[in-house]
Symmetry: C2
């Protein structure tokens, strides 16, 4: 595994791989890797990637001033070991000054899908995501790029960017990997105290309750959202940010309950903010 800290080193390694006909799979991450990230490597390979590049970059542009940029968990040594074991070819590990030299000011402004839910609560977050992903795509020029579905709205923002700006890449959105009790794998789970960790599955349980209700034919958005809130409230110390039933294309209230739907939620448990979601496939008309 080559470790590149500069854009030039990464480009040189990738150019060499391309010369040898490699099909490049790319997994951009913020590090502190878990099985959710690692499974994306396998999924990219299954889709035909023959050379895997992974980036680890905690992107300051996507954190708000009151958010956890400084304390976001980092462990380069362990991450590099995990990636090596998984057969990754290139680890791109740039410093902030390498990605954002002084004076850089051109940005990508995420599209309409970035406005609701996470976008409303984290102003500028998705512009920061879109900007760094565009930069990473331009550096790596991958054939396939993989993102985890746990960040469903991020996936939608990136899909819109790729479509709207004609970015020449195939996107792969990998399944959310969960602990046995349903908690979605997330680097931020490391923030949870033992007590908070026991509370954390309440988010997934609430979403599952919404899913069950939909399967049982309830198709009133307000009722389903209320049900999810009630379920979350059954666990002490779970502060709901939002629990919403939305159209997975717009991330706004669905206008057709018989298309694919998305149940998405964010909660705070102690000082930790967790998100999760469940896709509910298109149902047959009754």
């Amino acid at each position: 595994m080559i470790t590149a800290r500069s854009i030039d080193e990464a480009r040189a390694a990738l150019a060499a791989a391309r010369t040898h006909g490699a099909k490049i799979g790319f997994v951009p991450t913020m590090g502190f890797l878990h099985e959710g990230h690692l499974s994306l490597i396998d999924e990219a390979r299954a889709l035909g990637a023959t050379y895997i590049a992974v980036s680890i970059f905690v992107n300051p542009l996507q954190f708000g001033p009151a958010e956890d940029f400084e304390k976001y968990p980092r462990d380069e040594v362990r991450d590099a070991e995990l990636l090596k074991e998984r057969g990754v070819d290139l680890l791109f590990l740039p410093a902030v000054a390498e990605m954002y030299p002084a004076g850089a000011s051109t940005v990508v402004r995420a599209g309409a899908v970035a406005a609701p839910l996470e976008g409303e609560r984290r102003p500028g977050h998705f512009d920061g995501v879109a900007t760094v992903v565009m930069k990473l795509f331009n550096i790596v020029q991958p054939d396939i790029a993989a993102f985890g579905r746990k960040d469903a709205q991020q996936c939608a923002v990136i899909a819109a960017m790729v479509c709207d700006l004609d970015v020449p890449v195939q996107l792969l959105f990998g399944e959310t990997i969960r602990d046995d009790d349903g908690l979605a794998k997330s680097s931020r789970n490391t923030y949870l105290s033992a007590e908070d960790r026991r509370r954390a599955p309440a988010l997934h349980r609430a979403l599952r309750a919404g899913e069950e209700a939909l399967r049982h034919g309830i198709d009133d958005v307000a009722s389903i959202e209320l049900l999810m809130r009630k379920m979350a409230a059954e666990t002490d110390g779970v502060d709901v940010d939002y629990l919403a039933l939305v159209d997975p294309e717009t991330f706004r209230a669905p206008i057709d309950m018989h298309r694919e739907l998305l149940l998405a939620g964010a909660v705070r448990i102690g000082k930790t903010r967790l998100i999760d979601n469940i896709v509910v496939p298109r149902r047959e008309l009754p």
Copy 2:
């Protein structure tokens, strides 16, 4: 010459060229071609391009609501003939709906250099330019892309975008081509009545007066700008929008008069708005 009206057709032609080892030179234009555009083809070849793609697309995103999008001059047949004569390989000629399908909303937001001068007078103009250029770069994936220096601030906006977003392309900024009386070639010159055409060189004369003053050691910004205004005022019917001495990196007042400088101007003559500029090389310290 292949003429592609869809993104897919253009990509197919370019992929085939790339398979044969072509080095792709790209000249994005809004059509109604003149020698300024055509000279960029030759300059791209001189830099090593072996396959030339030219796009013609009057980009609605870079026109303000009160601007000349609708009446911007168009002549596809003549343009195609000129490009064919010049040995161009691919003409990409997309319709507006091909470039901006309904719902597209991700954009590139131009950097700080886009704010003064043209940016101040044409809000959103450079965001529209940056967005369409990013799309065209993603479609064409050129090795070299060429732009004319007549649009000096546009060149700076694109250079900043390429740098800030790590776009893998080599930029080429071609010299401004002028008529014998100094008027810079521009598709918009076609708007000028015979009388206005006689007035139009006043813009270049004003900039030249500023250049002369700099060469003679005058290094007070206000004096030079006043001198340029006086020169422009000698011609009736020339309404100065701005005549400015700026730093060519920031497009703001220079902080060091001994670095490279830029004299930039915009005037209205009748209903036609013309721009032009002169680069003044770094001078020796006295």
